[in-house]
């Protein structure tokens, strides 16, 4: 899958995967599966039962059609097998089916890629892989379900007996920084409460015990469910077990936990233990993120445009979030957010047209020296250029990063609303008085500037010596802008932008790195300490990093002497050049 374009005008290339069964013709008669000789674990049933190589994911699946898993299939060659095609009456099985790339133009994109349920294999202390009767809450769902492998007869895996004493462990894969999952998964407390009520309803003699850190039952009618669970006899023990032992004879399990209410170490024996597993960002998140130039927060979920006021808008215009991929949420909240995302997208589609900020790049045909550098650095291919011809900007494709403007050596490119003249005036004004006290910071709009805002929103404190100037992208910061700050007496200059994976302009910030490398060389050549120019990647979520970097920059500033600054101002003065290099000199003087 690929998505290109911009708000109102995206083009999606979608891989329609081969099903090998025509979903229109398939009657879901199941004849094919009956003759299929291949037996595989059934993913839908959490591997607790089996399916064939040709199967329907579950009876209510949409489309209501069988599908052939080619990786499981014995062979497309009728000599190898071909049994399913033989028995298929509507003749809808096609071994030669192939993936097809479908292209669709769309105006808005809703990202609803969901979540991955935590796999507790790594948390060996609960013996998930060692003991048969330790299962996850997802496996519980299948075992209690009438459509599940046991037709809803709740039995334990070791001996297929019905367990009487059941222990639940909460926060498995949630609120646990040591495994990189510090956040609350939101749904597991209520899911366990639901499970205990289901068990109490199906089997009144079952005794449930829940080990928890905190019970979070804050939603509408949640507290009522919690109380009903307690009334139904569920015991709630505050304290997460540290160890589990199995009785090899009976398959029973003993949990050892500190009851933090009584302060005592307790041992509890169970017939079965259910790990209430957390939910995390989906595997595909990084891929979708780079397709649509989105970013993620520190816990790995997508970052919204504003955590409070724009909770369904992505930072990329025309893209909206729905569901768990934005943050952990239950079904009701997912439905709410889906409605909100649909409404936001609908408003855009209904408007029929959209305004794009006038911040695109403009090429002065007279000044253009036809070198083509701008076209080569544009991450969007928005500049067309042929050898010996003036470069031309395609307005609608230009995202306004300013990379070309910073790269043009001949001052032939103007970034509308972010011109060189505006930046130079701003730099000079900010450093007009007592420049030696100031750290000059260039921050990109999407990440670093937002990261600075995040530090503010979180009320983090850092030294007041910095002066922040916003650029759309760190790649807008030209060599001359940095040199001008030094010429105006800045002791330290910081260029900051998005992390590589988050760059809002695809790969523009790679040019930032190139430019800073060149500047380090230039400064060193001029006898200026190159360390006074710094580079940092700070995401919109990294308020803490922004504050830390500001403190580091202030420490660095203190090492810069007045003499150094005076020397720098002299050393970086644009010198009159030999006639041959006049053009470049003119560009530097910009």
């Amino acid at each position: 899958m690929n998505v290109s374009g911009y708000i109102g005008n995206f083009t999606a290339e979608i891989r329609r995967k081969a099903r090998y069964v025509d979903p229109e013709a398939c009657t879901a008669c199941a004849e094919c599966a009956q003759v299929c000789p291949v037996v595989k674990p059934d993913e839908y049933q959490m591997g607790l039962s089996s399916r064939k190589a040709i199967y329907i994911p579950y009876p209510q699946a949409v489309p209501s059609s069988y599908i052939l898993n080619m990786e499981d299939c014995l062979g497309t060659n009728p000599i190898a097998c071909g049994k399913c095609a033989e028995v298929c009456e509507p003749d809808c099985i096609n071994y030669d089916d192939r993936d097809i790339i479908v292209k669709r133009d769309v105006g808005a994109v809703i990202v609803a890629i969901g979540a991955d349920v935590y796999d507790p294999t790594e948390m060996d202390e609960y013996g998930y892989t060692r003991f048969d009767n330790v299962i996850t809450s997802m496996e519980f769902e299948r075992l209690i379900c009438a459509g599940g492998p046991t037709l809803g007869h709740f039995v334990r895996p070791s001996d297929h007996e019905r367990p009487k004493r059941i222990g639940f462990i909460q926060c498995v894969g949630s609120r646990n920084p040591s495994i990189g999952r510090p956040y609350c998964s939101n749904i597991c407390c209520m899911n366990t409460i639901k499970d205990t009520l289901l068990l109490a309803d199906h089997y009144p003699d079952v005794e449930c015990t829940v080990f928890y850190q905190d019970i979070r039952a804050f939603g509408k009618s949640f507290e009522d469910m919690f109380q009903r669970s307690k009334e139904a006899g569920t015991r709630y023990i505050r304290g997460i077990p540290g160890d589990i032992e199995e009785d090899t004879e009976t398959g029973n399990l003993t949990l050892i936990a500190e009851n933090t209410t009584s302060g005592k170490i307790e041992r509890h024996e169970f017939d079965m233990v259910i790990l209430s597993v957390g939910v995390g960002p989906p595997k595909d998140l990084a891929k979708i993120s780079s397709l649509l130039t989105l970013s993620k927060t520190s816990d790995g979920f997508f970052m919204e445009s504003h955590p409070k006021l724009k909770p369904v808008d992505a930072p990329t215009r025309g893209v909206f979030f729905s569901g768990f991929c934005e943050s952990p949420k239950d079904i009701k909240d997912s439905v709410c957010q889906a409605g909100a995302a649909a409404s936001r997208a609908g408003a855009l589609l209904n408007a029929g047209q959209v305004h794009i900020e006038a911040i695109t790049s403009v090429i002065d045909a007279d000044a253009c020296k036809k070198c083509g550098v701008c076209a080569s650095v544009c991450p969007y291919g928005a500049i067309t250029w042929k050898k010996g011809e003036v470069a031309v900007v395609i307005d609608a494709a230009c995202a306004g990063c300013g990379n070309c403007g910073a790269a043009c050596k001949f001052d032939a490119i103007t970034m509308r609303h972010f011109t060189d003249a505006q930046y130079m005036a701003q730099i000079r004004a900010i450093l007009a008085e007592d420049p030696q006290d100031k750290v000059f910071v260039f921050a990109c709009n999407w990440c670093s500037y937002s990261g600075a805002d995040m530090a503010g929103i979180s009320r983090m404190q850092y030294p007041a010596s910095n002066r922040i100037v916003r650029t759309m992208c760190s790649a807008r910061v030209s060599e001359d802008m940095v040199l001008e700050a030094f010429r105006c007496g800045a002791p330290v200059v910081l260029v900051s932008g998005c992390h590589y994976a988050d760059c809002h302009y695809i790969t523009a910030n790679r040019q930032t790195v190139q430019r800073v490398q060149r500047l380090w060389n230039k400064l060193e050549k001029a006898g200026v300490r190159p360390e006074r120019l710094q580079l940092e990647w700070i995401s919109a979520a990294e308020g803490q990093k922004f504050a830390k970097v500001m403190a580091q920059m202030e420490e660095l500033r203190k090492t810069v002497t007045e003499e150094e600054i005076e020397y720098t101002i002299e050393a970086l003065k644009p010198k009159p050049r030999k006639p041959k290099k006049e053009k470049e000199a003119a560009a530097v003087a910009g």
Binding site: G114, H306, I457
Partner: protein, 202 residues
Amino acid sequence: MDSDPKGDGLRVGVFVCDCGLNIAGTVDTQAVTDYAATLPDVVCAIRNRYTCADPGQNEIKKAIAEHRLNRVVIASCTPLQHEPTFRTCVAEAGLNRYLMEMANLREQCSWVHPSDMEGATRKAKDLVAGAVARARNLQPHDDLSVPVTKRALVIGGGIAGMEAALELADSGHQVVLVEKEASIGGIMAQLDKTYPTMDCSI
């Protein structure tokens, strides 16, 4: 570009926001306002309690008319929050949207330097000076307007994707729903009963 239709030369108005005590609690906003008045081409500098509120916005509009302002600097919060607000505000007073510049005195000043009033005030003055310098170089622009393809792409066919797709389709839009698995339904389809209603998931 016609940034100065009346031939008045540059006339910059600066509006410094207290944001209640959010800014004024740390930054000496009166000192910043007085300083702004001394900057080149600034013809009025006004301090507001809440610039984004209606009375604050009305004051801007009034000053644009009264002082024939052709550049506006608003020293308040982050442009990522209120730039659209103030662009609309100046546009309503007849000024091009792009002739407004902001200085971030809240998220990047008062809120992060609460124990350094003097340093924060110095920083605020510099940020305003920078914004005024930039404003003096601003040019009017017209936004580009592009048509919107009336079709939506929904990535993911779980409960969140299905609901969004249905909602959009119900309001008359074409929707392309993409799901990587063989069936839509997502994780929810694997659940037995769901809280708080205790009914089936499918």
